[in-house]
Symmetry: C2
Subunit: 167 residues, 2 copies
């Protein structure tokens, strides 16, 4: 059984796949609202092939049993997809692969796995291969992604691959 090592999520390591939504020391900070608020500005811009089709939804997720058994990868080529912990500190496992890979070409060596720290969100670039949501706690994620009448989801099964989470 192929095993993947999980690394803590950092903006640098995740850059090929998307943005990390977090209060990062190095980001652009703007003091607003008469000094009562710091705006960590412009962390990720949702993208969609059709203007105006970005929407906010809530994903109410069960906790993922560990060790996580991977099932499949999917990609959405017409839009980005962002996840943020909603109303609670929540951690997620991320399993991703480069958007340029053809479905049949993906091997365990192409996969990267990350775990968030409970106060991080992410935005996946358009087309990045990713496992469906693996929330480490039962809870709700805010999702910003494209909505449309037609489906936009390529799927590749990766059954039999397991995630080893040291965190």
């Amino acid at each position: 059984m192929a095993a993947l090592l999980v690394n803590p999520l950092t903006a640098e390591a995740f850059a090929p796949f998307g943005q990390v939504i977090e209060r990062a020391p190095g980001g652009r900070r703007i003091v607003i609202n008469d000094g009562s608020c710091v705006r960590h500005h412009d962390l990720a811009r949702p993208q969609a092939s059709v203007p105006g089709a970005i929407s906010l939804s809530l994903f109410e997720a069960a906790a993922t049993p560990l060790p996580a058994q991977l099932r499949l990868l999917e990609r959405h080529r017409q839009g980005s997809q962002a996840f943020a912990p909603f109303g609670a500190a929540l951690r997620m496992l991320l399993v991703v692969a480069d958007a340029a890979l053809a479905p049949g070409a993906i091997t365990p060596g192409h996969l990267r796995a990350f775990v968030t720290d409970g106060q991080q969100g992410v935005q996946l670039h358009c087309g990045v291969w990713h496992h469906p949501l693996l929330s480490l706690q039962a809870g709700t994620w805010l999702v910003a992604d494209r909505v449309a009448d037609e489906a936009d989801c390529d799927v590749v099964p990766i059954a039999g691959w397991q995630l080893h989470c040291a965190a």
Copy 2:
């Protein structure tokens, strides 16, 4: 001193001003991810006068001292603005007025005030008058709004108005 009564936030009462982002029983639910997740679908669509200018930011807010002293209302006519509790249960006070009101025409009678329950976000329609973020706890809010080089913020002072929060 003018006083405003604060009501619990409901989608129905808030409809003239925007959407409530919550796991509402009446909303559209889609079971996804092999049954491990319920998608509360398409709760709010960010709007911007310039396509592609919607961005995700984090607002790191201080707790609002109570009773809340209102300072000003603002409106952003070129885009919607959504707020969601990020990584923690957070409540906010909302003070809003109809987008169609001219700045000089706003009186205390035009204002509506709401309080969220800790597991609710909101999206303000383009141009809705609103007080700057009044977070009841120190914490972080995810914000989805328009980013641009030019400012898009009308402001009206409402100093001397006070909020009475029964919740």
